[in-house]
Each structure stands twice: as structure tokens, then as C-alpha cells.
């Protein structure tokens, strides 16, 4: 019953998988994000970019999903994972949860491409 839309893209230069959820990431839509992140990590991309520029709102179920993906990404074989495009509302929840330092966060997708 969820209407989450998650865009997934692969680029060659530099090689990366980009997961870009759209709209609200809350308890009703985060299962689809979890699914998309798992598939992306399963295919062992050179880097994983989670582009949040089209996410207007995220709650702790979204955070939990990202923490879980980051832990997988950090375990061997390590996959560089970078978040980008956080708006003020989304950034606020990372700060409240003191998770803005656990994640690598870049301003834009281009920056994330360079960082990862």
C-alpha cells in the first residue's frame, strides 16, 4: 500500500550506484528504501550514493534504514557510501540524532561522486 518511489541509477564514470528516494521517508515508506539499499549493496557497487535532494521529510525509521545500510557498507568488503542533498528538515533529524558525523555527507551529488 505504499506509494514510495525510489529512483536507482548506475553511472560508469565514476562508477557508482545512486539511490534517490522521493518524497517522505517514514514508517510507511522506509521498507521500500531498505529494499532498494539492500539490492544496491548486494551488487557491490564501486560506491553508493544516497541522494536525498527529493526527500522532503524523514523520520527515525528512515534514519534506522540508513544506519543499517551504512553498517553493511562499512563491513568488508567495504563500499564507500555517501549521502547528499539533505534539506534543512532532513538535516535537523540527523543532528538531533547526532548521526551527522556517523555518515559521510556531501552537499550535492557531484560532490558525493568526488568524495566517495
Amino acid at each position: 500500500m505504499s506509494d514510495a518511489v525510489i529512483n536507482v541509477e548506475k553511472t560508469d564514470n565514476p562508477p557508482a550506484t545512486i539511490v534517490a528516494p522521493q518524497g517522505n521517508v517514514d514508517m510507511s515508506t522506509s521498507p521500500e528504501l531498505r529494499q532498494a539499499l539492500r539490492s544496491a549493496l548486494d551488487s557491490s557497487p564501486a560506491r553508493l550514493i544516497v541522494d536525498l535532494s527529493d526527500v522532503s521529510y524523514m523520520d527515525s525509521s528512515g534514519l534506522a534504514t540508513l544506519v543499517e545500510a551504512m553498517r553493511t557498507a562499512k563491513s568488508s568488503p567495504r563500499i564507500p557510501m555517501v549521502l547528499c542533498g539533505l534539506n534543512d528538515t532532513v538535516r535537523a533529524i540527523f543532528e538531533i540524532a547526532r548521526l551527522h558525523q556517523f555518515f559521510e555527507i556531501a552537499p550535492s551529488r557531484d560532490d558525493a561522486m568526488q568524495t566517495a
Binding site: N24, D26, D59, S60, L63, D88, T89, A92, I96, A97
Partner: protein, 171 residues
């Protein structure tokens, strides 16, 4: 700021009817509606956009906890959200009460994990206490739980009439 769980209800006369009261099913598809309502009401009660989205986040987290822990994800149980403007001492703000008919738990058990212990989950209660000025969990008289949360709005720099005039003066 996040540990003042004491006087949340003291200034609240129990029989003032809520200005807005929502009864919704414990189905996650209604979370976005609840958030938007609370955010828009907070806006009219004197909070700026970022504060409104944080207050909506706190309500979302409390609702998710009721759905997850109270009702074990059953999607057809009732949850009530009640909203009052806070007008004590000439200040502005919002009082939010969320109630359920789920199992009763010790209010002391409503605790988030330590933040340095990073793992998925365990953030909801922490977020609620961080965003709101006071948060008080209690058992309802008959069945279910109640959480009462207050948030005071920062004082407005310029009073209404003067501001309208000064807008005019910019012309």
C-alpha cells in the same frame, strides 16, 4: 531541556476541550496526514517552518511508537491526537496530547538508547524529548497510554500591528 518530564500537565485544565482533536487508525498511511496537520497548526500558533517540521517529527515518532510498541503494528486500532494553543504568561506555544488504547507500560520504560551506541532504532523517544520542551508519559485512567508534550514558541520580535505597518512603510 529533554529531561523535564514533570510539569507537562500541571498547567492543563483537563476539561478544556482541545482546539483540534484527531482520531485516526493505527495505519502508517495516515502518519503523513497527522504530521501535516500538526505542522500547519504549529505554524499558526507562532512557530517558524523548521520548528514546525520538528514538532511534526516529534508527533510522528510518538505515533510510530504507539503503532509499533503499543499495538504491535495492528493497523485498525484508535489513536487520538489533541492540540491546544499555549497562552500562559502571555507567551505562545502548543500542547500536544497523544493517547491510545494499547497495553499499559511503566512510563519509566519509555527511554531511548544512548546516542553514542550507534545502531538502527532506539531514536524515537530521544527525538521527542530533544524537540519538545516537556514530555510526560502516563497510564490513562482506564486503558492505554498518554503522552503530553509542550513546546513554547520563541517570543515574536515585532508585534502584529507594527509589523503590518512596517510592511506598508517598505512601500
Amino acid at each position: 531541556m529533554s529531561d523535564q518530564t514533570s510539569n507537562a500537565t500541571t498547567t492543563h485544565r483537563a476539561h478544556d476541550p482541545a482546539h483540534v482533536r484527531v482520531e485516526l487508525l493505527s495505519n502508517p498511511i495516515y502518519l503523513s496526514g497527522a504530521r501535516e496537520l500538526v505542522g500547519a497548526v504549529a505554524k499558526r500558533l507562532g512557530f517558524d517552518d523548521l520548528a514546525c517540521s520538528k514538532i511534526a517529527l516529534a508527533v510522528d515518532e510518538a505515533l510510530c511508537n504507539v503503532i509499533r510498541h503499543g499495538y504491535d503494528r495492528a493497523e485498525d486500532r484508535p489513536i487520538w491526537i489533541s492540540l491546544w494553543p499555549l497562552t500562559e504568561d502571555g507567551g505562545k506555544g502548543i500542547r500536544i496530547v497523544i493517547e491510545d488504547e494499547a497495553k499499559q507500560v511503566d512510563p519509566e520504560a519509555m527511554k531511548g538508547r544512548e546516542l553514542d551506541d550507534i545502531k538502527p532504532g532506539g531514536l524515537g523517544v530521544h527525538i521527542i524529548k530533544e524537540v519538545m520542551d516537556t514530555v510526560e508519559y502516563e497510564k490513562r485512567e482506564t486503558l492505554g497510554m498518554r503522552v503530553t508534550m509542550l513546546k513554547h514558541a520563541p517570543a515574536q520580535p515585532v508585534p502584529e500591528v507594527t509589523r503590518h505597518a512596517s510592511q506598508g512603510a517598505r512601500a
